[in-house]
């Protein structure tokens, strides 16, 4: 698989480390009402879709940036690549 890095251009997926579902950006509020249940789901439960999947890849053997890659889990086709930083900021994180 070739990941089209937004800053560096096309890079071999072997340069990256895979973390998992991009929802891991959305860390629950630890002070929330049912924080224990939310953290259980956040840590352990996954949608695991067959088809389009947004996921976090880390460019370990490169510029060490986190990417959000939208990829088809049935075909390995990579549909979209964004900087995880941009995604997190657009979600209102890191204010």
């Amino acid at each position: 698989m070739i990941i089209d890095h937004p800053l560096l251009g096309p890079r071999d997926a072997a340069e990256f480390v895979y973390l998992g579902d991009a929802r891991l950006i959305d860390r629950p509020d630890w002070q929330g009402e049912d924080a224990a249940r939310q953290f259980h789901d956040y840590l352990h439960v996954r949608d695991n879709p067959a088809g389009e999947h947004r996921e976090l890849w880390f460019h370990e053997h490169g510029d060490r940036s986190w990417l959000v890659v939208t990829r088809n889990t049935l075909t390995h086709e990579i549909i979209r690549v964004e900087l995880a930083r941009d995604v997190a900021l657009s979600l209102g994180r890191s204010r």
Binding site: G20, D21, D41, H44, V45, E55
Partner: protein
Amino acid sequence: MRYSALQVLKEGLTGNRGWKPVWREPDPKPHYDVVVVGGGGHGIATAYYLATVHGLTDVAVLEKSWLGSGNVGRNTTIIRSNYMLPGNEPFYELSMQLWEGLEQELNYNAMVSQRGIINLYHTDPQRDAAVRRGNAMLLAGADAVLLDRAALQRKCPFLDFDNERFPIKGGLWQPRGGTVRHDAVVWGYARGADRRGVDVIQNCEVTGFDIRNGVCRGVETVRGTIGANKVAVCVAGSSSQVMGLAGLRLPIESHVLQACVTEGLKPAIPGVITFGAGHFYVSQSDKGGLVFGGDIDGYNTYAQRGNLPTVEDVCEGGMALMPMIGRARVLRMWGGVVDMSMDGSPFIDRTPVTGLYFSGGWCYGGFKATPAGGYCLAHLVATGTSHPVAAAMRLDRFAAGAMIDEKGMGAQANLH
């Protein structure tokens, strides 16, 4: 027909005209006592033990493709019970004991070959870990032998003992481990289940569950609705998809595990050798091919094929361990989609839906667990209580803080 040497001789002399198909191809009935979803090793074994141990013969196994078309025919055929944790090891040892009696019980040649499995160690701490694991195995009734470098050298002189990065100091040997002809396991179980009245139904994909007021009353399939008092799902690799039809989200990611086989070579490798530090394990099939693999690719996929960097990594591991295989040519490589659970251990449990049971999360180790997986799921479905050796394999164990994390990796599916 009962298989025997005499039968082979007789058929050989009479043109082999007496062999019959070993299971029927029935149409689904409108209702069964138990419906098992998934005609792989675990599903068909579950049906077999429901019939033989619990006397439940009003059972159907629904398979979306042909019997054994999934992971039971894609694994590298290794059996072993060299786990460590109390929630796992007694279960895998039960499985090993069932393997040892399987061919006699099924009257089917599954080529169970206890040629031994060796896990290599390279450092003092790894040796300590091997001793600890070996003791845990002995406590659970399994067998384990610590081999030092000299003993290992006598068994496997071809290993690169003085490798610069991972010098081999010895290994933990389980003599009762080995390999089994994986397809024959499905065929043998299917024949045994069919003879006792279980309907094995192929090309019958489940498309939904009939759930009313929190009770599962049957399944929707491409061949119509089939009612059932109880439904057991054994579809590892696709667990999230199938259980999603019942509205459940699981602590599972689907990943691909690749394997390779070389051309047939003269007998060289005495058993199964695992080189965890180098992401490589190997055995030699009865036809002579080196069957080997390594780690999962590491990203979510349902594609049943992987990518080349992992194959390269596996082959590099093989070259580091036993340079003698450098001239062997790889004939085929393939991939299977596995349920990677969040602690690397499986589930055999009831679900929040009454009457719906689940077996999955087998990671890359489901094949060796086939007999005990079927045995314990049948026990759960028939009696309503977990079998003692599978009592820790609960779906709610993450919420309860009772993970079975052999590697101590935490909730990161692709690291287990």
